[in-house]
């Protein structure tokens, strides 16, 4: 308990000392204590409805005297607020002002065009200025609500430290020589009227009576009035003394210690200042005044735009050359580079047409390249493929690895077209006909445990009624397969959802490193994807995935036109003739060599199709009750199908007439 009392006593002493120090240190504001202006830092009042009110703008020119306030306050929302009708000489019309009772109690009204009248002394409110020149309390306006002049009033200084402060001081807080009161009742008031005042800061109006404050005096003198002597004070003030009054000799005064000696006063101030600094250094942080927080003020755009800022000087490159260069000059994607390596002709073509960097890929967006078939790749030409088994070891060496080659039987090589997708990756595609055999071959770049293939649906466009597709042929195994894209060892496989039609294993029976698999093309025309995953023996290599798009073209059909409709013709005989390049004659194409039949008989839907080698061909069709059809010659690229739709004319005249009438 005693300890607590001692602590309280120490705290009170400390507070008194600190208060004294702060009050003394602020004494330099007394110069305008009778005609005050607003502090350049503490100049804001706050209102919920209007935001900050600034009483310290240079244009507002607010002055506070013992009797009234003049000038204007400023609000971004309400504009100028006039504190006195004398501002614009309108007192003859409406006489208003903020009055000061010289003790710092304000009253009366201010006027704003937007906010209307603002009462500085409303009931439950009122604004006053304390002995430190700090405003406090509330003013009231119907349009702005309460206007708070000091954060301490609402106890919110912890959030935002704001107040309005002036260097005007209430009369009671000012020195005797500056308080507009005749303190010594000698008929003279304040400095300089009262000769007892040395300055406005003089706290005593009574005449000096031989006490301190006089540096020296000289008797007579040519510039002094006659019969009087003068005394010179430290501040340069000269006081004339009556002749009959005796003043102490200069020497006596100068050696005597004096309370108002200028040198000593200065040293006292220095001592107090150093004490204040010492006290400040030992103050805990929560007792120190918080750093001021400037209320948000937004300068108008034209003011901001007139600032000189380096970012607008035009001397800086605001986007780095390096990053732009890295983007624009990025090399071709590694997949395309790899293809160019595997197919040298493709690499040469890229060089010729200037495809050397990533940004050039845009040029390839609509371009299609053709990769050579398996036989051409190993140096066999002539339009007819060769069986894999007949390739020599050196030819097998020439076969590029990690590419899926497709064949139909032993002799037909599918032509692989290459397109660049939107993401810059190459897409390999072959075209075939529904139901035709598809022989796939892959040469592994490194020893593999196995290669697994998946046939998945990419996009199916069915013509309704075109074909009755048994559910088992397409959707019999609609399971979602998890397939990797690029998956080095340890990397998590990216999962994608696909409609899986079949799974198959590639085999390498002759152990030549070329894995083969045979599947049947799907029966429904559309786009399919064959995804082959190689599992390397070296576990650290992980797996590699190869993709090949297979486009199933629809079969051709034979039909009779009936008005706007078509009637399919079954049992029609379709023959394909190939042009002999040596004698120019057309000969029946030897379909047996390619595991096919020629001529073909159309099925119930009138369908037929041939998958042929490169060459020049023509079709001939005959059917009962129809005139024979002899087609024109046409060229076929390597491994493409023949599937034209052919209309036959009926022999019966009335069916022909029916067809013409309803055309």
């Amino acid at each position: 308990m005693r300890f607590l009392s001692k602590l309280k006593f120490q705290f009170v002493c400390f507070a008194l000392i600190a208060g004294a120090i702060f009050s003394v240190s602020s004494s330099d504001v007394f110069a305008s204590s009778t005609d005050g202006t607003i502090d350049s830092t503490y100049k804001h009042a706050w209102t919920e409805a209007g935001g900050w009110l600034d009483f310290g703008t240079s244009q507002g020119n607010v002055h506070i005297s013992d009797s009234a306030l003049t000038g204007y306050g400023w609000s971004a929302n309400f504009g100028w607020i006039s504190l006195n009708c004398s501002n614009d000489s309108s007192c003859a019309t409406v006489d208003y002002k903020i009055s000061n009772d010289s003790a710092g109690n304000l009253s009366g009204y201010a006027w704003s065009e937007t906010a209307g009248w603002i009462n500085f002394n409303p009931s439950n409110g009122g604004v006053s200025v304390n002995s430190f020149g700090e405003f406090s309390g509330y003013a009231w306006s119907e349009n702005t609500g309460w206007i708070v002049f000091n954060c301490a009033t609402t106890d919110t200084c912890g959030t935002v430290d704001y107040k309005v402060k002036t260097d005007w001081r209430p009369r009671s807080a000012r020195p005797a020589c500056n308080n507009a009161t005749d303190d010594d009742s000698d008929g003279a008031t304040d400095y300089p009227s009262d000769t007892g005042c040395a300055s406005l800061e003089d706290t005593d109006e009574t005449n000096p009576d031989g006490g301190g404050g006089i540096l020296g005096s000289v008797g007579g003198g040519s510039t002094a009035p006659e019969s009087r002597s003068q005394t010179v004070y430290p501040d340069g003030r000269v006081v004339y003394l009556e002749e009959n009054k005796k003043e102490p000799p200069v020497v006596q005064i100068s050696v005597a210690p004096s309370a108002v000696d200028g040198t000593q006063t200065a040293s006292v101030y220095q001592t107090i200042e150093s004490a204040a600094k010492a006290v400040e250094s030992i103050l805990p942080s929560f007792l120190k005044p918080k750093p001021k927080t400037e209320p948000p003020q937004e300068a108008p755009p034209d003011e901001i735009a007139s600032e000189s800022l380096p970012v607008f000087s035009g001397n800086w490159r605001l986007l780095e050359d390096k990053s732009i260069g890295t983007f624009a000059l990025a090399p071709l994607p590694k997949e395309i580079m790899a293809l160019a390596d595997k197919f040298p002709e493709l690499g040469k073509t890229f060089n010729k047409i200037g495809i050397t960097k990533m940004s050039d890929l845009q040029k390839l967006k609509n371009a299609k390249f053709v990769l050579p078939g398996l036989s051409k790749e190993v140096g066999i030409s002539g339009g007819v493929g060769v069986p894999l088994s007949s390739l020599s070891l050196s030819q097998k060496e020439l076969l590029p690895s990690e590419i899926i080659f497709a064949k139909a039987g032993d002799f037909i090589d599918y032509q692989i077209s290459l397109a660049i997708k939107d993401d810059g990756k190459p897409e390999q595609k072959i075209n075939t006909i529904a139901g035709k055999p598809l022989d796939l071959a892959i040469k592994a770049d490194k020893p593999v445990n196995k290669i697994t293939g998946y046939l998945t649906v990419k996009n199916i466009e069915r013509e309704m009624g075109r074909r009755n597709v048994p559910a088992s042929s397409l959707l019999g195994a609609p399971i979602a397969a998890a397939l990797g894209v690029n998956h080095p060892s340890g990397e998590k496989i990216e999962i994608e959802q696909k409609l899986l039609l079949g799974e198959f294993e590639y085999q390498d029976e002759d152990k030549d490193g070329i894995y083969t698999a045979q599947i049947a093309s799907p029966l429904v025309h559309g786009e399919y994807e064959i995804i082959s995953i190689m599992e390397y023996k070296d576990i650290s290599l992980g797996k590699k995935e190869l993709r090949l798009i297979v486009v199933i073209d629809p079969e051709g059909y034979i039909y009779e036109k009936n008005g706007n409709k078509e009637t399919r013709i079954p049992e029609a005989r379709v023959s394909l003739f190939q042009k002999n390049s040596q004698n120019g004659n057309f000969e029946l194409w030897p379909a047996k060599n390619y595991q096919q039949v020629n001529p073909q008989k159309t099925d119930k839907s009138g369908n037929y199709s041939f998958l042929v080698t490169e060459g020049v061909y023509k079709l001939a069709v005959s059917a009962e009750d129809y005139y024979d059809f002899a087609g024109k010659e046409f060229s076929v690229e390597e491994g493409r199908g023949v599937h034209e739709n052919i209309a036959l004319k009926p022999k019966s005249w009335w069916r022909s007439l029916f067809g013409l009438l309803f055309k």
């Binding site: 007139s306 800022l309 986007l319």
Partner: protein, 118 residues
């Protein structure tokens, strides 16, 4: 008795129609709010795009000092978007004191502008 039935039928019809129109009004009110939001979003997108275009043309692609009028246009345009986050990022950019800072801040500004387009 007949009149009573007619009366009840009329009242019932009115009640049903009132409920119908109340539901309809509520549903249309919701649609109207959605349309207003969309329109507001559209206007803001337009302002963001206009500012971005002005910024790219007059600052990023300009090798010269940006004049006062353009600066004023930019300051007005960025405030017209009425988005504190964009304005704060713009201020960060304009107050950059080194080229490296300016490059980083301009990337952040462009990134933010693009993200604000809905």
């Amino acid at each position: 008795m007949k009149n009573r039935i007619i009366f009840i039928a009329v009242i019932g019809g009115l009640v049903v129609s009132n409920v119908y129109f109340a539901l309809k009004s509520s549903s249309l009110g919701g649609e109207l709010n959605d349309a207003r939001k969309e329109a507001s979003s559209f206007h803001r997108n337009e302002k963001v795009i206009n500012f971005s275009r002005l910024f790219i043309d007059s600052v990023l692609k300009s090798g010269n000092e940006v004049d006062f009028d353009t600066r004023l246009k930019l300051e007005n345009a960025i405030r017209d978007i009425k988005d504190d986050e964009i304005l704060a990022q713009w201020n960060k950019f304009t107050k950059s004191q080194t080229e490296t800072d300016a490059q980083n801040e301009v990337k952040n500004l462009l990134d933010l502008l693009m993200k604000k387009i809905q």
